[in-house]
Point group: C2
Chain length 409, copies 2
Amino acid sequence: PVNAGRIAEDIEALADITEPGRPWTRRAFTPLFLEGRAHIEARMKAAGLETRIDAAGNLIGRRTGRKPWSGTIMLGSHSDTVPDGGRFDGIAGVVAALEVARSLHDHGLELDHDLEIVDFLAEEVSIFGVSCIGSRGMTGQLPEAWLSRVSGDLDLAGGIAQVGGEPDVLMQQKRSDIAGFLELHIEQGPVLEAEREDIGIVTAISGITRIEITVEGRADHAGTTPMDRRADALVAASQLVLDIRNAAAELARTPGHFAATVGEFRIEPNAANVVPSKVVLRIDGRAEIRADMEAFCRWLDGHVEKLATAYGVTIGIPNRVSDNLPTPGDAGLLSTLETACERVGAKYRRMASGAGHDTAWIAKVAPAAMIFVPCRAGRSHCPDEWADNDDIALGAAVLFQAVREMDKD
Amino acid sequence: PVNAGRIAEDIEALADITEPGRPWTRRAFTPLFLEGRAHIEARMKAAGLETRIDAAGNLIGRRTGRKPWSGTIMLGSHSDTVPDGGRFDGIAGVVAALEVARSLHDHGLELDHDLEIVDFLAEEVSIFGVSCIGSRGMTGQLPEAWLSRVSGDLDLAGGIAQVGGEPDVLMQQKRSDIAGFLELHIEQGPVLEAEREDIGIVTAISGITRIEITVEGRADHAGTTPMDRRADALVAASQLVLDIRNAAAELARTPGHFAATVGEFRIEPNAANVVPSKVVLRIDGRAEIRADMEAFCRWLDGHVEKLATAYGVTIGIPNRVSDNLPTPGDAGLLSTLETACERVGAKYRRMASGAGHDTAWIAKVAPAAMIFVPCRAGRSHCPDEWADNDDIALGAAVLFQAVREMDKD
Ligand SMILES: NC(=O)NCCC(=O)O
Ligand SMILES: NC(=O)NCCC(=O)O
């Protein structure tokens, strides 16, 4: 039902809208971002959609259904990127959604429901340091305080206004009409490719928990302080990194996705001849099953105390900087997606998403689910991120079938 | 023979010449540094010394002896500091040397040898990123290329000229007249205090070897990449930090001072949700016995290969960024210092210096040795660095006795 060639064209066209010499960079709130959106909006119009920017700054293409009182079927993802990476992350889902609308249009197929294709604003961590602005904003979950976060001369409210949103009326425009939401996204992990499967039906989006830990030792002269009289914060923190990895690997072997990563790690004073006095590190934890995260945090709280004693350093109580629960996919939509996969002959597996997505925010107010398509070697957020066009097109076909199925309700 | 009160006065006066709100900071090449030197120069003159700045930018106070052809007895240390620390590091030795000259002057004692009191330029790592400018420069060991190192608008040659030196004639002024050199310095370690001893007679200044290691893994999405499919550079580097600590602790238990510290550690991309792709770390190694350092480097070269295999990362061959041999103290001067300690009733021990000092450079061209005085809790290069005035005065008395002894030769 869908046209793979048009998908390829759109993805190429968007890939061309990138910071010169820095593929593939089209960060939210930049002129390039608006250039990308202008392209998407033109394509929406060509597909017979009526376009608008909602209060939260999302770009929406709308097609009225025969029975608009049944609510809105919504498809979408995001067109913004992280720095240096994002040839497919987000944009594959926007283009696939657009192709579904275009196919319906081409085939003269009318739906009972209204259909909306959405490019969510700023899914990635943007200059304002937070993610999923558009999907949070559309569903009344954007913390009011975030609107005054600043970057340079701009605050987030100003940023939303600049792209055409109306931050003042966000709460009045909170959506309650969404009959069902679907998002296609690249997996951003290696499983589908390794297992030679076409589609991942996402059973749950893992909760994300960020934990900050500060290890404090004593800055001593590296030349003169005997090895057995040191309180080396880096040595203690190194042990902690290894123990976190091992604890996470163990939880990963039990059912349900689990991962924990020390991605941020900073030492002080970071001087050639001074024993490190301080390490501040941050853990990024992901759990499909909440009990796993709770077990991990309990273990961590007890473990840092033991390490502090063993290494003669001080370790502050691990600080949960942010903590989101796992979001299960809507059961009805998951089986709709299975049916759709079978109809188009796609080999699929049920799997969790380790990454956060706009879908998690929409799921708080409406039935929502998502599908993954494979990406090469699981690489994402880097210039060599790659997804085969045929895989994306097959995913778009699944969306197309699923929408027709959803429209029956 | 020496006057403890005058030592306390000078140390206080110099401590007052610090960046306001940032004790005790008097970095080389700053106006404050020149202010400190003006004070020292005034005190030199009051002690009957004739002052000059040599080609390398060292401040020298000179007293001609009765038999100047016997050569110069030189005493000194440095008046510059690291940022935030240096109430006693360096300056204690300058003031003690000055007090020796002053006492000789007061008592009307003439020497056969010429006597020089030196404040070496920029012993600490300065804005030019290198150390011991003055002592290297005075002895023909300042690499010519260093003169063009820049910091802001200034190069090192310009910096030396600014303090009154003559970088163009450095090599012509290389000293060959030094009959003996002594330096008093705070220990910068905890041993003398812990063992309740007054004086450390420094048998050797440890060699300093700096080694850079780069660990390269793969940047993957922290949410989606299964724990068992990662090449996490931080995990591998953490293991390396622990292994380096253990190897160093083992060598430290054998005779001869040994220490190795990972003081610099930087991860990339250092982003919340990305598996670390790269760690660059630097080891600061110290060995009193060269064979220890060679054993350590051999172990390290083999070990990183094993770790790379075990953790699925790449680790470059450890790169010796700099490598200095240990410097033994002059045997004759060491026994002169012992005699001097006994004469003034100081409890002493022979010990190695883990830190580098100007003495190491002077020792390349003349008999040289140094003594340590205790410092509180071994703290140095930090605002709470402290040495008791009585300990410094006792050290000065040892220097005084040693100079009289040296003058007999
Ligand atoms: N999909 C995606 O990369 N989201 C960014 C948030 C995260 O999961 O780390
Ligand atoms: N004495 C001293 O702190 N020297 C600095 C060089 C070093 O040993 O790290």
